[in-house]
């Protein structure tokens, strides 16, 4: 049952990511990305990390992508990039993609071997996660939150109308 669900979810996830990259319509890309996020949430749920699964769906699929879709639907970009600019973007993005793939292989090569310890049942529970976040990873956690607040304040300052002198 779990294996069947895993295969279903991961195939849907990969398929929707491909659909996101290949589809011409930006709104469809965004919808495919939402499907991918939901599938990732399901995969987290299968790995006995229900908290991360729920947060993945609430934050990414429920909040961030709504704002993406908002902007896409309001602006309604039909044309996309011009062919000359596309050529410019193609080569750097290919290079960056290649670097990312090599990095991923390096990271994943250790984890693909089945570990002897096995996963602890409660590793993704809210309690464990909260404890780890506020003890072992306190500084990265706090620095991330400061970064997010800085980005928020920056966005508000940029958007706010300038007062007339």
């Amino acid at each position: 049952m779990a294996v069947f669900l895993f295969i279903l979810l991961s195939l849907t996830c990969i398929g929707s990511i491909l659909g996101m990259i290949l589809s011409k319509n930006q709104a469809h890309s965004a919808l495919y990305l939402i499907l991918a996020f939901v599938c990732t949430g399901g995969l987290f749920g299968l790995m006995s990390a229900p908290f991360i699964a729920a947060v993945q769906i609430i934050i990414y699929a429920g909040a961030i992508m709504v704002l993406f879709i908002f902007v896409i639907m309001m602006i309604d970009i039909r044309k996309g990039l011009s062919p000359e600019r596309k050529k410019w973007i193609l080569y750097p993005s290919l290079g960056i993609g290649l670097v990312l793939i090599i990095e991923l292989i390096f990271i994943l090569s250790n984890t693909l071997v089945p570990s002897k310890a096995g996963t602890i049942e409660s590793f993704g529970s809210p309690k464990t996660l909260g404890k780890v976040l506020f003890t072992k990873y306190l500084y990265p956690f706090e620095i991330t939150s400061v970064l997010i607040i800085a980005a928020l304040v920056g966005a508000i300052v940029l958007v706010k109308k300038k007062e007339e002198k």
Partner: protein, 354 residues
């Protein structure tokens, strides 16, 4: 597997049937409030029974109407949008506990479809996903006004979702669990030896914030700007027949699910005051022992009564207040409810550490 399927079927039938009759209840209650008679013409071989056949007549009317897809819209997404909205709200019922355990022939059955570790977050996630029904229908109808309606609606929904989530943090702090069954379990204890330890007594402010944010999520007056049937163009203007009916029905399902959540989180769920597994033990002395089956029956009846009460309350609020203006709505959400819920969290933390 089969057990879960049967439980899910029972829960969803309960949910859909009650939502169907909620339309009747709303018509009758509004009629009483406005000194009218209300829908009473639908009959079955001359039997009217207070118009109880009206929801069925409505359903038949919806199903036989033309299912129209506007030109230039994407047919698949246009069909998908109302079902997205409907599906995500319908599934939430599977986390609500209707009672504790039922023992049949030595086997224990939990009266809850699935008892997830993160039940509260699961419900919030599903409600968050149901926004896509709104935003997608507005966009895919290929009509500028419905697009604006969809954007307006989804902006309201995501704004109030923040307050909704924050108001529940107080409850999670007081009852340290995200599981619905455990939260109800904590509420079966007693305060000062006589008062049931319900969420409403520990989190009165949280209850008020939750009620207001949840009513905004259900898109009804005074927060009905996504729809605004009579004056402004809503997101489902381009839908007809059964698909429009699904949107309308989803609203009633949301009312019911909010009543269920209020009951489970703030009013002790299925818990009857002073009723324990073996019967009543009153704080003023005196016991009334009951067999197991009766206790479970009492719990289920109590759950239903509480849910009916909150449905009634929501309909009452809906027919009492006028609609907010859009800027008032946003101000109310962001400048009043969210600071208030943050204050609630801080105050709860201070009180708990004393």
């Amino acid at each position: 597997m089969i057990e879960a399927l049967i439980k899910f079927l029972c829960a969803i039938v309960w949910f859909l049937l009650l939502s169907l009759y909620l339309t009747w209840a709303e018509r009758k209650e509004s009629a009483v409030m406005q000194d009218r008679v209300g829908a009473n013409r639908a009959n079955f071989f001359g039997f009217r029974i207070l118009g109880l056949f009206q929801p069925l007549a409505d359903a038949i009317k919806m199903m036989t109407k033309e299912d129209f897809t506007p030109a230039f819209s994407k047919r698949f997404l246009h069909n998908l949008a109302p079902f997205l909205s409907f599906f995500f709200v319908a599934v939430t019922i599977s986390t609500i506990p209707f009672g504790s355990h039922l023992m049949i022939g030595g086997k224990e059955f939990r009266l809850q479809v699935i008892d997830l570790n993160v039940g509260i977050l699961f419900v919030l996630a599903l409600l968050a996903l149901s926004i896509y029904g709104v935003i997608l229908s507005g966009w895919v109808s290929n009509n500028r006004w419905t697009l604006l309606g969809g954007l307006r609606g989804s902006a309201q929904l995501i704004s109030y979702e923040v307050a909704l989530g924050l108001s529940l943090i107080g409850i999670i702090m007081v009852f340290p669990s995200l599981k619905f069954s455990e939260i109800v379990g904590f509420q079966s204890e007693l305060l000062f030896g006589w008062l049931p330890k319900w969420g409403v007594f520990l989190q009165p402010l949280g209850l008020i914030i939750f009620l207001m944010a949840a009513m905004a999520e259900s898109e009804r007056v005074p927060f009905d700007l996504p729809e605004g049937e009579s004056e402004i163009v809503g997101f489902f203007t381009e839908y007809g027949g059964l698909k429009y009916g699904l949107y309308m029905f989803t609203d009633f399902m949301k009312v019911l699910i909010i009543a269920c959540l209020l009951t489970t989180l703030f009013f002790g769920g299925y818990h009857v005051p002073w009723l324990y597994a073996d019967g009543f033990h009153f704080p003023w002395g005196g016991d009334w022992l009951l067999p197991h089956g009766i206790v479970v029956l009492f719990q289920v009846i109590m759950f239903n009564l509480k849910v009916f009460f909150f449905c009634w309350l929501q309909i009452l609020i809906r027919w009492t207040y006028p609609r907010f203006r859009y800027d008032q709505l946003m101000d109310f959400g962001w400048k009043f409810l969210i600071p208030l819920s943050l204050f609630n969290i801080a105050a709860t933390a201070v009180l708990m550490s004393l």
